[in-house]
Amino acid sequence: MSKIDITVDGVKFSVPENINLVEALSHQGIQVPTLCWYQGMDECLGTCRVCTVKVGGRHSAACTMKTQKDMTIEFDTDELKDLRRGVIELLFVEGNHYCPSCEKSGDCLLQAQAQDMEMTHSRFPYEFNNYDLDFSGKNILLERNRCVHCKRCTELFSDDEGHKVFSFIGKGAETRVVFDHEREKKLSPHKAKEAMDLCPVGAILVKGQGFSKPYGERKYEKEPLWEKK
């Protein structure tokens, strides 16, 4: 793979051409915060915008960009840090994120990003929207109050037979995640757990498995995001 030069915050780096920008920066020790994207993902989703940087002076979701020759990237500026934290704050006010009563607390990427960005509150008014729960499934509980509409479950998850289980209905602010009841019923415990772990927040829960880890043993308590930097 041929190498090219890119500039990040005024510093030149030599990186492989045409690879995912978040991944390229990660190899250079620059950790761009992400929510819908994770290391090893083939296709980006580009839904959450938490990885916003400036490429050639324009705001862009880094996970949607591939490395190109002479790219100029702004990442670690006060303006962009504030913007990325603003995106996280917006997600907190749009959904109903009651961390003290959430089964995924401590294992939640949204919460971990907020902590890493030192969010103490949201600058936006809390909306307290009403979202329906779907507890009709055999294995899975859908807690839509926490869904950030990242599309991980609809795009990346399939059952043992390779069929999609989750999908979106509605449009815009009415968008809701739903599941195929017949396929959900047949999910193996292993697959149901995979769906819960794939969800970056606490929207997909395996019934009867909440609060399984004690305080101090939860994912982002053991591996805080800033320790990767």
């Binding site: 961390c99 401590g106 969010m119 307290f128």
Partner: protein, 180 residues
């Protein structure tokens, strides 16, 4: 220089954040050397008797009395701190926010499974009027600093108070920030 004055109050909270103030443990001995407490459940002083430097607010605003008390705190305190998840974003009391007040009261007083036939929803001039929803404190008055957590740990409270008493901006260390 005289001692700095601190006041605390619990609005729509559970007093867990006040318990966390006590969790400052041995540093409480340092704290009482540096400050005196005015209006607070810890002193049982019910009204402000002097100007206060730092006010700690636990809980959000769920009724008219909470709003009145919070405004009084804003008037009497130079610095106001939202202490804990309920003050910061409404917390668990705000779980009622997507229900109408009428639905919420009917569920609590009439339809609850343990109800033995009661159909009366309490309403009296001595009872504070409930608000349409629970409001975070900073949506009612200006709040200067926020300490999230349910509750924030004693270390967070101590570090914020120590910084303010020292004339510095309080900044919570990343590993101490939590939301549950």
């Amino acid at each position: 220089m005289g001692k700095k004055v601190i006041s605390t109050v619990s609005l729509a909270g559970c007093f867990g954040c006040h318990m966390s103030v006590l969790d400052i443990d041995l540093k409480l001995l340092d704290l009482v050397e540096l400050v005196e407490f005015n209006r607070s459940p810890l002193t049982d002083i019910k009204t402000f008797t002097k100007k206060v430097d730092i006010g700690l607010i636990e809980g959000g605003c769920c009724n008219a009395e909470n709003v009145e008390v919070l405004r009084e705190f804003r008037k009497n305190c130079d610095i106001l701190i939202s202490l804990g998840e309920c003050a910061v974003m409404g917390g668990l009391p705000a779980l009622r926010n997507h229900l109408s007040l009428e639905e919420c009261l009917e569920e609590a007083y009439c339809n609850v499974p343990t109800n033995k036939g009661n159909k009366i929803i309490p309403k009296h001039e001595d009872l504070p009027e409930l608000l349409d929803r629970v409001y975070p404190c900073h949506e009612v008055v200006k709040i200067d600093y926020f300490l999230p957590g349910c509750p924030p740990s004693g270390d967070v409270i101590w570090s914020a108070l120590a910084a303010l008493l020292n004339g510095d901006e309080p900044k919570i260390a990343k590993h101490l920030i939590k939301y549950d």
